[in-house]
Subunit: 419 residues, 2 copies
């Protein structure tokens, strides 16, 4: 019998597709070398003698995945919510990000951020840091120490930003390459190319970043079509491109390697159809979009085109890291869209749960599900006694809508207990 | 020196008006016989020797007030969220409410509800129970035991509802009067006349309830203009009235005594102007309105007319009792309204905080503020260490947007510690 095999028994629930939940009452989830080996109603004889932890009627579900979040904005939650995007950046966010020139401050806030990810049951994430390479290394080190699988981006910006955050283009690219080389072979923490967004990068910086993405075959993340004023600004800054997304595309930052684009609220129908054909995943950040009065992402329209949508907390424009709250906001957001566009029906619970688990997990290859062969990233959740008689799906719905972090009793990533 | 006088020292914040926060750093809140006596930077000599509890840099703020919540729906949070109002009632809610024919079940769920109110820092509430008088008495007894000031309504419904919840009209009115007589002289728990909504009451029941409201000078609560199908149904059922609100008005249930009307989403401009002139307070329930795809309440339009708007969790159509979350949703909801109606600017944090404290408190006379003479209903809130350097308003914003119940260290109602 191999040493690294064990089983957890409980009420198991996850989404293989976004159409419905897969449910396994009082079943054994068997983990072998950090990977889901199988789910069994009765434990087969070959597993005799392995460690089995019986969690009673606790829920066992995949850990949540946050595909768009700004670790450096963790200490500004709830600030500047009276502004829209551009003013919010200049009034609060840039000033807060400047504080990460201090490694001491970075250590403090990034540690609190990583601990909160685990409290929230977020078992992997794709993260923006700031321009500061040393602080970015600190974030990676803390995530590694906490055993949270993540992509981390050193942010790049060299125009249209305050002097205290404005990089020298050549140095920016050099530091980015150093950061890449430091982390690219790490098994847990991976670098991701991260121009903040088109307006704050020169053509030279965008070209250099696209070249690095291709050279090292690295994924890319940025922001796209969040706000109408932003789109107008991009069109002014890059008149030769003719569309916001083409700025990224022209510089090998839009699907040449796998790509995440946060928001994608104000894409045209043709741009949505184009998105469906390439390796670019839109990341829906509904709290952020409401908080900054950015707009309502047409999520149903994208699903109708076969697009796999990710979900992101987008703190600090979003105000919560807890992904169940983000799921609820995604449903609420789709209901608001439905009020205005009756032909696009609201998202279902299975659809948003899938987004925050297996859907987001596609960016990581085999995360976000409890099917055989997936990384064993999962949560053990105890609900109040008066919920015990509800069906498994009802208990899941209760947890997503009204659950609390405190109900998460255990959190595993890669089969290892991380809380 | 009187015995019932004490002081709490900390960083005090509340809203005297909805325009701005009143802030008192490192000040003493003096409580005398359950009433706010004053706030002092330096404790006057006359208070020498009173008990002073120094809370360091904890926030001290008014307890929250929830003006519309269904205690009997506490165990169905997150259920049936794919439905709109009428189907949601028949698919989930009526079945759940039927369970309160069991006093044992009522005892269990109402106790959990009351405990959760305190966990949430909700120090007073206006509550729907069900048609079941005995269970309704249980709810009142538990609230009294927990020392939570509240109005509680025995629900009335005698038509257009399942047989298991359909009352005999005469019995319904008799039981309601018994319930009134049992609680009307209680200092903490008060009865409120509670027809569920126009469609589920006969003309006879509405008339009887209006008569009771006038006879005992009792306040009234119900639902108004939540959903377009509901409005059409009311117009069909009461063609002689010509408008939804006039059904209530005709039977002395709309401002003849002080009145709460939940939702008020789809009122005409003339109906809003009329509302501004009478003693009817609309209660905004933004989570509920998004969850049931009911619509977006035009809160700014109402504020512009000088209307005092209350705030409600409206569980189980809303999914959270924690009023800071409801405040955030009220702001988000107003931003969505602003996206469509640029002339109506979003609500500010001070405006929604005022709604959930002093605004709602007007229904209780002198609750919801920490001004002299107000009931001493307040919370002591400890934030994480890394928030300590922020300004008092910033810390309040953090707590409202991203705070958690666990930060509420102490909760007082009428000057008594209730948690």
């Amino acid at each position: 019998m191999p040493e690294k095999i064990f089983a957890i028994k409980g009420d198991i629930i996850f989404t293989e597709t976004n159409k419905q939940f897969s449910t396994y009452l009082q079943s054994f989830l068997v983990i072998k070398d950090g990977i889901v080996e199988g789910i069994y109603k009765i434990l087969p004889e070959k597993f005799n003698g392995i460690s089995v932890s019986d969690k009673g009627h606790a829920l066992i579900l995949p850990g949540f995945i946050d595909l768009h979040t700004h670790a450096a904005q963790f200490n500004q939650l709830g600030m500047g919510m009276d502004y829209k995007l551009i003013d919010w950046l200049s009034s609060y966010t840039f000033k807060e990000e400047e504080r990460f020139s201090s490694e001491k401050y970075a250590e403090k806030i990034y540690r609190a951020f990583a601990e909160e990810l685990i409290n929230c049951g977020t078992t992997s994430a794709v993260i923006f840091s700031t321009i500061h390479k040393n602080s970015c290394d600190i974030l990676c080190r803390i995530l590694q120490e906490k055993k949270i699988p993540a992509y981390v981006g050193k942010v790049n910006m060299d125009v249209n930003c305050p002097s205290f955050l404005c990089e020298n283009t050549a140095e920016s690219l050099q530091e980015t390459e150093e950061f890449i080389n430091k982390w690219k072979d790490n098994l847990l923490i991976k670098p991701i190319i991260t121009p903040r967004f088109a307006p704050t990068s020169s053509r030279e910086q965008l070209k250099g970043l696209g070249d690095l993405a291709v050279k090292y075959n690295l994924p890319v993340q940025s922001h796209l079509a969040e706000n109408k004023a932003e789109i107008a600004w991009v069109n002014e800054l890059f008149p030769e491109c003719g569309a916001y997304y083409k700025v990224y595309e022209q510089y090998n930052l839009y699907g040449q390697t796998k790509t995440l684009m946060a928001h994608c609220i104000h894409l045209t129908d043709a741009e949505i159809k184009h998105l469906a054909k390439i390796d670019v995943m839109p990341v829906h950040c509904p709290d952020s979009n409401m908080n900054l009065t950015s707009g309502i992402m047409p999520a149903r329209k994208m699903l109708n085109e076969g697009i796999n949508i990710g979900l992101g907390s987008d703190i600090g424009a979003g105000h919560e890291l807890f992904m169940p709250n983000v799921m609820v906001r995604a449903i609420q957001s789709s209901k608001i869209y439905n009020m205005q566009h009756n032909e696009y029906k609201p998202l279902s619970l299975a659809e948003v749960f899938y987004m925050a688990t297996k859907g987001c997990g596609k960016f990581f290859d085999n995360r976000g599900s409890l099917e055989n062969g997936y990384q064993a990233d999962f949560l053990v959740i105890d609900l109040p006694e008066y919920k015990q008689n509800a069906s498994l799906e009802e208990r899941l719905a209760y947890f997503v809508y009204s659950g609390e972090k405190k109900y998460i009793k255990e959190c595993y990533a890669n089969g290892k207990k991380i809380s």
